[in-house]
Symmetry: C2
Subunit: 87 residues, 2 copies
């Protein structure tokens, strides 16, 4: 399936969240990831996130679509998609 993941978490946990999400999805903007992922791997990502998240303060929102083509993407301004995902 295709997902867009956005997170908003406490300063002390941001680096850990960024590192975790990078293992599963593509970073496209500050706290925003997208990509194809299986249900099992998404569950693993969320299980790992919950291990360090403060669920009373932090938030992850995931939008799931059947596949990449179910969503049209438009970028205005600077495209931040970091190339180090491809190194």
């Amino acid at each position: 399936m295709y997902v867009i993941l956005v997170y908003d978490c406490g300063e002390r946990r941001v680096a850990k969240m960024l590192k975790l999400c990078r293992k599963y999805l593509n970073w496209i903007q500050n706290s925003v990831f997208e990509g194809e992922i299986s249900e099992v791997r998404l569950k693993k990502l969320l299980y790992s996130a919950k291990e360090f998240m403060d669920e009373s303060e932090d938030s992850i929102i995931i939008f799931k679509g059947p596949n990449h083509s179910s969503l049209e993407k438009e970028v205005v301004g600077k495209e931040r998609c970091s190339i180090d995902n491809f190194l």
Copy 2:
């Protein structure tokens, strides 16, 4: 159509971007909006944003789906959807 809008812009323009997006969509998380919107109103939103954006530094990404049900949404942790959208 149904959209998810995420922005990342310079500190001096964040308040203006937040105010603008709130006129058209629902705030759900830091720099993240969602909602039903017509093509015309989305164009108006982006036209207004471009009037103050620094397109060499700022970024808006819009994901468009045919309707609300084209995407499944999952929230982990604190749901930040601010109630003042409904006041």
